[in-house]
Symmetry: C2
Subunit: 327 residues, 2 copies
Amino acid sequence: MNASELGEFGLIERLASVVGAEAPTDLIVGIGDDAAAWRVGDQVLLATTDTLVDGVHFLQEFAPWADVGWKALAVNISDIAAMGGEPLFALVTLALPAETPVAVVDDLYAGLSECAHEYGVTIAGGDIVRAPQVSLTIALMGQAQMRAGEPLLMRRDGARPGDFIAVTGVLGESAAGLQCLKEGAQRSDPLVMAHLRPRPPLTTGQEAARLEFKCAIDISDGLLQDLGHVCRASDVGARIRGADIPVSHEVRRREHLNALRLACSGGEDYQLVLVGPPAKMRALEAARVPVKVIGKMFKGKPAVSFGSGPPPEVSLNASGWDHLHSG
Amino acid sequence: MNASELGEFGLIERLASVVGAEAPTDLIVGIGDDAAAWRVGDQVLLATTDTLVDGVHFLQEFAPWADVGWKALAVNISDIAAMGGEPLFALVTLALPAETPVAVVDDLYAGLSECAHEYGVTIAGGDIVRAPQVSLTIALMGQAQMRAGEPLLMRRDGARPGDFIAVTGVLGESAAGLQCLKEGAQRSDPLVMAHLRPRPPLTTGQEAARLEFKCAIDISDGLLQDLGHVCRASDVGARIRGADIPVSHEVRRREHLNALRLACSGGEDYQLVLVGPPAKMRALEAARVPVKVIGKMFKGKPAVSFGSGPPPEVSLNASGWDHLHSG
């Protein structure tokens, strides 16, 4: 069997099974959530890592290097946002061929630095290695918000039957932007920018954690797939209404794009799914935090279904993105 | 200009200059040391990252995958040892081609897990991505030892004129082991094992930090080059005696190997250079910590020189390993 047959998630489970037995009591969240969480003195530290590889996660001809730098950090900030924490400092590993022009490195750093500045992250170190293609791996450390000595964390396994499911922002713009880029659109196109420079809703995630939401995930692989992770981790079913999914008007305007499919399965939105009891959802709305309720958790098979049957244009099987299968 | 002309250290300085202005007060050690250090509540967190790339840092035909897994973590533990800290948890990013056999992944994880177990490290998460070749990037988080609210850290810039320079273990075995591997030696050869499974002297680093040594570095690129980093960071000169460098007997025994050159410039020993005043060096020896004094720091040009002229077989120019230049 090869890696792509087992898939990204199969390989992660395999790692968890090899190393899982050793978890010490300081570890609050281990393999399988958006970020690891660890008690350090009276604080709880968060750590996550994500990689962008040239030709796999971005295409050199479509993605200016500064945007690759921005995105490499932003996707990690998204993981910390999904836990409800505060991102603090990052280690940057840049792999590149020896003949890479220094201007490429400067552009990568510039975009990285812009994103770091925007979100209050400090680049504290890293590594530079030679490799056949450019890739950027970032490890981002942060802290959980604390209340009475306990971390205010949102986890994938925190959903309960009866919880409402909400999402931030609008969905599908990033995948639409990638398609437009390939069709020749420029950086001046807002969809293209949504793809190249995702802006994770960090303060929304933090606000939800302060309201003691217990469950969230970021939308990196597509709404259906990521919500499916929550279902499996929490052992609950999710029922959503296609008509309530906040589809981008900008995407809908372009008639050749399948807006609902992109919103459900496009991926790389780096918005958040927030899951919590109706009262907390109302508290979030009262705090004027912009979220949209799209469905509800119920006791049942851990999978995502559509409330009134799936909209005909969405196939539940084609739901998202496996990093080992698609490119 | 391309990346290899600027070199690994030039690129790191360039990153530091882009992001350096933003350093907040919580950051104790930023870019350019073995690990970053950050105050979190009443503790000080350490974080470091290192990557092994197939064809660059190891050669598939010579390095069993389990050994690659071990080494990927060990080289990071070495960085924490050089700071005098305790390694705690690691994030693992595995990049691999889709057609990689799952057995390769299992072997990588097994070696990683063995090293984690040996050094008390928990694998807390990570990422799996598709890439044209296998690479393993590890971000390792740890904690500094604390005394009276202050971290007991050893830094590259902590050397002072008059300090003694000592090293742990014996040097040159890893580079010798690589040469022997290429000549057909097996894993039963102790030099080959020194190359494939480095064992950073973690407790020695921690003991030195408790004795309030202020300066250390791990030997990854070769004694001369790494000691040179200390000289530049601390703005002191280093004078060492070739005859005092602890050359491996096992290497010396093989007549075709240049033992002193390998000890000075071979790299990948993952031993420590410890720098401190004579009284502290005596305290280390009194605590039966096995180190060997090889020279002294002095006020002068920040470079490494040999006490009685360089031994004829060592050229100071051929001093170590730049990850962008050599393979």
